[in-house]
Symmetry: C2
Subunit: 192 residues, 2 copies
């Protein structure tokens, strides 16, 4: 249990056996079936989820009922509505499972407690969020500055596993395109 979580932790911050045991007390395992919700818009986001196995997505809905995927979470990634998690305000994102998945959950109170009692946990958190920030900034840069062809090729080379496992219309959503447009973009690329 929690194998990947601790593996990922130790890649960033070393950890004694005792520390690991202590942290373990604050973790909860959870399995999710495909299509099952982890979080629904309007509820408070009670957990940060670390993905041990499977694939999830976080998305918002616009006025017209279209889904817009803000984030994927595959093995080794963390997914949540961070704003809601921190403030307790209602979530603006939905999170559900794209495949049957296994998660390691950290509740808001566990998170608080770990931050206050385990300095290395704060370091781990800081490094995680910093990495996520940098990755999102790159994504944002490519959205405002690159044509969709380049963006798709870039996404493809950066996350080949996502392209393999996730339906194309979700990738279109993530890129801010309609499925039809992505299909045409791909066609153009193949011809080259």
């Amino acid at each position: 249990m929690y194998e990947l979580f601790f593996e990922s932790f130790k890649k960033k911050v070393e950890l004694t056996h005792e520390e690991q045991q202590h942290i373990t007390k604050y973790l909860t395992p959870k399995k999710l079936r495909k299509k099952q919700y982890l979080l629904q818009e309007g509820d408070a986001c009670k957990y940060v989820a670390f993905v041990e196995k499977g694939a999830l997505r976080a998305y918002s809905m616009d006025d017209k009922g279209n889904e817009h995927i803000i984030q994927f979470g595959l093995e080794g990634w963390t997914i949540s509505d961070l704003y809601s998690f921190i403030t307790g305000e209602p979530a603006t994102y939905n999170i559900d499972a794209i495949e049957d998945s296994e998660l390691t959950l950290i509740s808001a109170s566990a998170h608080e407690e770990l931050l206050n009692t385990v300095p290395k946990y704060e370091t781990f958190t800081r490094l995680n969020i910093t990495g996520a920030y940098v990755a999102m900034q790159k994504r944002l840069t490519s959205i405002i500055s690159s044509p969709s062809e380049d963006r798709y090729e870039n996404f493809n080379s950066l996350y080949p596993d996502i392209v393999q496992r996730v339906p194309q219309h979700m990738i279109a959503s993530y890129m801010g395109l309609t499925p039809e447009t992505l299909s045409r973009v791909r066609k153009k690329i193949v011809r080259k």
Copy 2:
């Protein structure tokens, strides 16, 4: 010196006089004239800059020589090429002053040292980056899900000070639009 920096620090984490004095040793003040660079693409980003006064922008250049603003930095905000700052890799962004500005700089080595010696500094850093992440996620969501009219109105209500002080073509760039398009979007809004 460093007034706003410590004011902002104490809003997030309380600080004794001794701690403040200790941290002060690692800070450097810097003044920048309008149009002056703090960082040029290709150089390593040596500093994180906290804006005491003035306004800066971080932007990338595409193949055609167009600028794309990824971030503004006004009073109380932090600006840098975080990826380059952490890794030492060449920066992909340029940072320059939109107005004459006054900064509080933290070098990479000072940052390391502070993280290792002042736990509250790590907390401050973590809270800062978390806030920046949440703000950027909201921006990204609005880019992939809202029409440009709504996005401009949202930006306007969120950052009226930026709209007041910064030329419109820079706001267009930040929104991923051309100046002409933003001008037309604004015209539409006024008519309502």
